[in-house]
């Protein structure tokens, strides 16, 4: 039987789907029987998802202009 501490140790592999079949089945039965581990699993999964779904800020326009100017200069020098 897996303890909650074991479960936590395998959390990455469980979340990323990289745990082997046997351990994955044990992790699944633990998480379905243990409300606390289920919440930790669920909220960690949501944490990763919310970060993956986050669009970055638009670049401040002056930073974008300076980047474009630096590129133009490079293009000019390279051709």
């Amino acid at each position: 039987m897996l303890t909650c501490k074991d479960f936590l140790g395998w959390l990455n592999e469980f979340l990323d789907g990289t745990a082997g079949d046997e351990i994955r089945r044990e992790l699944e039965s633990h998480v379905n029987a243990c409300p606390n581990c289920w919440v930790i699993f669920d909220t960690t999964k949501k944490t990763i998802q919310v970060y993956k779904g986050m669009d970055p800020h638009p670049l401040p326009s002056e930073i974008e202009s300076r980047l474009l100017a630096a590129l133009e200069k490079k293009f000019g020098g390279a051709s």
Partner: protein, 207 residues
Amino acid sequence: MQPILNASVNGEAALVSRARTGDNAAFSELVKRYQRKIYRLASHITQNQEDAEDVLQDTFLKAFTHLRDFEGNSRFYTWLVRIAVNESLMKLRKRRSDKLVPLDEPVDTGEEQIVREIAVWEGTPEQRYSQEELRQILDGAIDELAPIYRAVFLLRDVEDLSTEETAQTLSLSVPAVKSRLLRARLQLREKLTRLFKRKGDDLFAYL
């Protein structure tokens, strides 16, 4: 006109091969596509606006100069991320005299994983906050992480690099990447749960 839209990696490979033949418009398109993400990454690692802007420029200028060396073994974007991380780390090293913790400092393994907040979230954060508010919350939480956790989380979960690519980019072992990623994820989970939890659920957490 060559078609730019491509279902696979949104035509990244096509743009890269055009850029390699000297098509500057194709290279500019790649810059436009990734500049925001590269700037965000550099800002998080350097924690300094000026440095982040330097890294942004240097990353694309270097990529342009070395485009012929890009072998296509990884995605072009992964290659860009690696340049940006190297540039960012160089900036950090220059400022090393101050209190910044270097990324290669060994992890203190004496400390247990932090799990204190055990509560389900109220709806989804996207429903509860505007995009701008949510961005600030998420960026702020990343910036509160120790640098050694922050970089690993950014590369693995924000920039989608593999564990091996992350290890290579940060000169870490694969087990070190894995253990830091777990801590980073749990620490962020902890921070976000404090904000997003359903009120009243704490009562049950300690039963």
